[in-house]
Symmetry: C2
Subunit: 222 residues, 2 copies
DNA sequence: ATCGATATGGAGGAATCTCCTCCGGTTGAC
DNA sequence: GTCAACCGGAGGAGATTCCTCCATATCGAT
């Protein structure tokens, strides 16, 4: 499905493990950068390190697989949004929120240095995703719902900003909720100029923010 | 100035080095997390590793100094914004943009785990920064310019989102410009509902984004 | 249920990275 | 000009990370 030239199909358990490794790798690369220890990835995937190496002979090929997986998921999100939403701005909104959900956006810039994005196969999958988004943007500008000075790059980079987990001791769940909330804020704008879309997610006060600091333990003194 | 109980004042060159180390530490912690190698920090500061250890006996005390420095700069920005701007929303806008400029916001959540933020001295400096901001938010809601469902936490976390350098091979300068541009987009909102503030910074197209990928060199094969 | 092909995990040596001190040489302040 | 303060980098100890090997477990077709 996501491997191009594989002779035998993988056994069911192997396929499951492969997917879990891919998912763990995506998260770990986002959190720790492209040099993250592979053992952390296999640990989080719930497999042994040997399984990771068997499936992906080196870091490079793991990264490549992560990127391809991310591009495919994103392309599917874009396709569905454009096809199923009634208007261009809703499609764009849905595309952005769903891309946060599939948690794929943040990993691509992280691996930009390490994977040849201009290689034919990758380029082709990329285009499947960018096409619909370019179309949404163009249509939404044409019908006057999207501000005309916003670019594809703005949208893409914004999604990356909101996709990356915030540093520090914040739970993954809160991180996700805040990302959607803040995306809503971006779409609506901070300044009041008329009716605004509802903003979901937790409304954190200053005290909530403070409460996130764990016990002030001075760790080990050495 | 930023050290509380220092017997002798540092010699001029030592003070310069200390400031450079602090600045480098801030950037490196933001980019690589709290476990970043100290040698990378001293290298970037243009000093030897021994100088870093002489000034900051351990990682903990370096982190503490970085946090205090960041809080002080942020507090000053907030104070000036509230004092010098004609209305609350301009003050808030200026506060957010200037905080990006002083490049201090992103480091605080990164070090939340490692520094005791509830300790008296730190708490006091924190309050000097949060006070004016809470005031701006309240005033801007009262005069109807800031949407009422935005919280202090939203503002703070948003600044962190925009302060963090994007992953991947993007120049620092472009990073900074985009941060301001996207902050403007946040303030104005993506959706058109009336007049909107001008958006500065580079308007990146899809091709610009692609052009950022360096030569596709397969690195070393090992 | 059986059996062979396929897949698994973790130990462990080698290589690399990071910490942090020591000390001969340099520089700023008076 | 003098000297106290400051500097940089070498380098040993310890911690991480890489990646292979092989005895055991599991899948799936019959």
């Amino acid at each position: 499905m996501q491997d191009t030239r594989e002779a035998r199909p993988l056994r069911a358990d192997a396929r499951r493990n492969r997917a879990q490794i891919l998912e763990a790798a995506r998260d770990v690369f986002v959190e720790q950068g492209p040099g993250a220890p592979l053992e952390e990835i296999s640990r989080r995937a719930g497999t042994g390190i040997a399984t990771l190496y068997r499936r992906f002979p080196d870091r490079q090929s793991l990264m490549r697989a992560v990127v391809i997986d991310a591009l495919e998921r994103t392309a599917e999100v874009a396709r569905a949004a454009l096809a199923e939403e009634p208007d261009a701005f809703s499609a764009l909104t849905r595309y952005m929120h769903r891309t946060l959900d599939v948690r794929t956006a943040a990993v691509i810039p992280t691996l930009l240095d390490e994977v040849a994005m201009d290689e034919a196969e990758i380029r082709q999958i990329t285009d499947q995703g960018t096409g619909p988004v370019l179309q949404m943007i163009e249509m939404a500008k044409a019908d006057g719902t999207l501000r005309p000075d916003v670019t594809f790059g703005d949208i893409g980079v914004m999604i990356v900003r909101f996709s990356r987990p915030l540093p520090g001791p914040m739970s993954r769940e809160l991180n996700d909720q805040l990302a959607h909330r803040h995306l809503d804020l971006l779409i609506g704008g901070l300044h009041v100029r008329g009716r605004q879309g509802a903003v979901g997610g937790p409304a954190m006060t200053l005290d909530d923010l403070r409460a996130m600091q764990p016990e002030s333990d001075p760790t080990r003194p050495d």
